[in-house]
Symmetry: C2
Subunit: 287 residues, 2 copies
């Protein structure tokens, strides 16, 4: 069963990869070798071997709600483009100053800081073009998706979380503060991948809400599991759940959050093997 | 007459300033002192004494078409937020490395490079939220505005133009290449300020097209006039119209482009004193 789940996830990641490759291949751009270079910089990071967690999640929600996966694809890829831009900007010298990302040189190491900055700006902008073009025939839906994504990506979400992280210094966080940080920095984009897919599938409002809560729980559960796995390396970390709660209480918290996420999921469907799998896989993962 | 025109422009700029102040004052943000600091960083650059050329242009188009200026305001401010983000990122050390902007310290000099980067990212994202919220009841219009703005701001427009500029080095441009560069780098956002306002005013397709062409011409005419004014300082510049064409031919080009822009404007209305004034003011300006 485990293997079958993994195979489904891998197939969906490949579908995302293919959509992204086709999107770049068909991009209609103004003339100029510098514009082609900027496109290569965007493409480099958009195809840098990520596991496509967020857009795959959108596709799994489409499956759950018996919705055509083609319909969710532009939104799913818009979320991935925003994730990609955030990694490019995060890696810049004025932020984390990382030379490697997933084993490859970071964008600015290959294209220079100026083009890395512009590639991030362009990918963020492109995400909203994807929504405008992908849902042009459904204006009300496009508006909802644009609002959700801009709230999740900007100062009310991911960028706000990055700001908190940058200014936290050595301050010891409480459990609530740490949950708040993660709900913005990584949680908002994961949650919106689920919520947007539910809207595209024309789910009922109570289903959208339950799936939104499931998405929040899933994002937090992944962060808690990361902290458990990294425990040996950073158990003094003032911004890890294990550093704050200790190992045993963190494991209890993971069970509790996972259980709540499953309850939300089961409000929508008692039969959701793939999304259930994500929760149980996360609870048991060893790497 | 000149003075009256200037007064109208100044009143509209004040209306833009007030909308922006109110928008920031009413922003509903997550908790965290770092998020408040990020908001201050966004606000600092969004209220840094710009003349509001682009959003004022949108308001003038609304007046021309007898459209309620309140309706164009969210879009006009979205365009201004994108202009503001581009200045913040342009000033960063990895780009132009400027310490001053309009006589004040640049964003990164006040808030640090990391928060300047994030403030730019957040303003760009906020622009699309403004459209989603400002036109939520008119889905088809919101989709059109989102598409126009993302095309004008991203790799197909402003960011594409920045890429060309960064990689141009000491290459001597032809007149066509220089026109292409400016049509992307600064022209796209000026054009979209006009075109978007025409769409919001429910102009006919032929009027939208004529105003779009007017916007393109106006943007180019301002760039040409800038080159004429800066001539003494950079007459060797391989990327100025005067450097390429010489002073006399550049002045002829300015007359020609201004004349064409007025023709496009007069396709929409024979009575357009404020927008005519922008063209004639630009032709005659001495500073």
């Amino acid at each position: 069963m485990q293997q079958q789940h993994e195979r489904v996830m891998a197939e969906k990641a490949i579908a995302i990869d293919q959509f992204i490759e086709k999107y770049f291949a068909q991009m209609n751009l103004p003339e100029g070798s510098a514009i082609q270079e900027l496109k290569r910089s965007m493409h480099y990071s958009a195809t840098n071997g990520g596991k496509r967690f967020r857009p795959v999640l959108s596709l799994l929600v489409a499956d759950l709600l018996n919705s055509n996966p083609e319909r969710v694809m532009p939104f799913a890829v818009a979320v991935e483009m925003i994730h990609t831009y955030s990694l490019i900007h995060d890696d810049l010298p004025c932020m984390d100053n990382d030379d490697l990302r997933r084993g490859s040189p970071t964008n600015h190491k290959v294209f220079g800081e100026d083009f890395a900055l512009l590639a991030g700006d362009a990918l963020l902008t492109e995400a909203f073009l994807l929504i405008a073009e992908g849902y042009s025939g459904q204006g009300a839906l496009a508006v909802q998706l644009t609002r959700l994504l801009s709230e999740a990506a900007g100062i009310r979400g991911m960028v706000g979380g990055q700001a908190i992280d940058l200014r936290a210094g050595l301050k010891t966080f409480t459990n609530d503060e740490l949950t708040h940080l993660h709900s913005l920095k990584t949680g908002a984009l994961i949650r919106v991948a689920v919520e947007g897919a539910a809207l595209i599938a024309e789910a009922q409002p109570n289903e959208v809400l339950a799936l939104r809560n499931f998405g929040s729980g899933l994002g937090l559960a992944f962060q808690i599991a990361d902290d458990i796995l990294d425990h040996g390396e950073k158990d003094q970390d003032v911004r890890s759940f294990t550093g704050i709660l200790g190992m045993e209480d963190t494991k209890s918290l993971l069970r509790e959050i996972s259980q709540k996420a499953l309850q939300e999921l089961h409000l929508v469907s008692k039969e959701a093997p793939m999304l259930e799998h994500l929760i149980s896989y996360n609870q048991s993962r060893q790497v």
